[in-house]
Symmetry: C2
Subunit: 214 residues, 2 copies
C-alpha cells in the first residue's frame, strides 16, 4: 500500500515561486528580493539605486509591510509603478502573495522589479518568491555581530549591502569583524559598504547590479 | 455527538507560560520580556539598567538567539547568572524554551529576571513566556515610523524604551511622529527616551521599573 504524503508547506510555496519566476522570465524582468531588519534602509536602498539607473532600465516595486503604505507612497510619489502588499501581521512575504500582486503591475513595461520584504532578519529567507537574487541590507547602527547572530539570513544572500556606512566611527563598527562573520556563513556574496544618505559606495553596487541585469 | 477539538498551538504555549509564571511568583522574581529589532540595543539596555540597580536587587538573564552566545558571554563576564537559549533558527522564544532554561538559573537567589528575546519586531509578541511585563526597545536609527509599520509589537508593550536617543538629530528623527504612532496602537505604555551610551534618560526608566518590582 502506498501512503499518500501531503506536500509540505515550503514545497507548495516553492511551486508558486517557480511560476512567478517563469512569469518574470517571460516578461524579461530581473527581480530582487530585498531583506533586512526593520529600519536598515530597504526603501532608501531602492530609491538611491533607482535614482542612479541609466536610461532604459525601467523599475517597479512591490512593497511588503505588516501594515501601512508609508513606503509605497514614498516610491509612488517618484512616479515608479508600485504595489503594496499588507501581510496582515504575517512576518514575511511568500510566493502566493507575490503572484496576487503581479496583475497590478505593468510587468511588460518593466525590466527591473524590486520586492521589499517585511523588515525581519529571520523569517523571510525561508520563503522563495521567484526572484533572481536575494539582497540583504545590513546597517551600521545594528552592530557588527549580525552575521554571527542571524546566520541563515546572511547565508541566503547573493549580495550584502552594509548601509549607513558613513557612521562607522560613530558606532565603533568593526568592519573586519563583520566581514569575517559574513565570510563564515557565506563565502560567495560580495559586500558593498554604502551610504544612501551620502551616496558613498553606490557606484560600485550599481555597477555590480547592472552587470547582472544586462 | 461531541467533536473533540484539539487545542491550538498558542493555547498550548499559554498553558506553559502560566506554569512559568507560577514558578516566577513562587520564587518572588519579577520578569521582563525584552523585545526589539536586531541591533536596537536589547543587551545594552539590560546591562545599562543592571549597572544602576540598587543593592538588594539581584538580576539574572535568559538570552535568546538563533545562534551564537555573544551576548550571554558579555553578560556572564559581569558575574550575572545567565543562560543561553539557541533557538536553532526559530524566530522567537516560546514558553517551553523558558521552562527548559529555568533549572539552569539560581531562581531562589534572584528577584529580577530579564529574558532577551530573539531580535525580531514581529513574531516574539505572539508568544507569551510567563513574564510580568513586555519591554519593547526601539532605536532612533531604525526611524520614527516603526509603530505605524509594526503595530502588533508596539501594541504588546507595557513600556517602550527609545534607545540611542542621543542621535535624534543625526537621524532627523521626529520624536512627535513616533509618539503619535505609539499612542495610536497603545494608549497605555509609557515611553522613555534613553541612551545606553550616554546614560541619558536611564534614571526615569529605572525609577519606573523599581516602582513595579517592589
Amino acid at each position: 500500500m502506498k501512503i499518500p504524503v501531503v506536500q509540505e508547506i515550503l514545497g507548495a510555496n516553492d511551486q508558486v515561486a517557480a511560476e512567478n519566476r517563469a512569469a518574470f522570465d517571460a516578461a524579461g524582468v530581473f527581480v530582487l528580493n530585498v531583506m533586512a531588519s526593520p529600519g536598515a534602509g530597504k526603501t532608501s536602498v531602492i530609491l538611491a539605486t533607482v535614482d542612479r539607473l541609466p536610461a532604459g532600465v525601467r523599475p517597479g516595486v512591490i512593497e511588503g509591510d505588516l501594515a501601512s503604505s508609508i513606503d509605497a507612497e514614498t516610491i509612488g510619489a517618484r512616479g515608479i509603478p508600485v504595489v503594496q502588499i499588507n501581510t496582515g501581521g504575517n512576518c514575511h512575504l511568500d510566493a502566493p502573495m507575490i503572484r496576487t500582486a503581479l496583475p497590478h503591475l505593468p510587468l511588460a513595461e518593466l525590466n527591473l522589479l524590486w520586492i521589499e520584504n517585511v523588515g525581519n532578519l529571520v523569517c523571510p529567507s525561508n520563503f522563495a518568491l521567484g526572484s533572481d537574487i536575494n539582497v540583504v541590507v545590513a546597517s551600521v547602527p545594528e552592530g557588527h555581530d549580525k552575521p554571527y547572530k542571524y546566520p541563515s539570513m546572511f547565508a541566503s544572500a547573493d549580495v550584502v549591502l552594509l548601509n549607513k556606512a558613513d557612521l562607522v566611527k560613530v558606532f565603533e563598527f568593526d568592519l573586519d569583524y563583520f566581514r569575517r562573520g559574513l565570510a563564515m556563513v557565506n563565502a560567495e556574496a560580495p559586500l558593498f559598504n554604502i551610504s544612501c544618505r551620502t551616496g558613498s559606495g553606490m557606484g560600485e553596487w550599481l555597477a555590480w547590479l547592472l552587470e547582472r541585469i544586462r
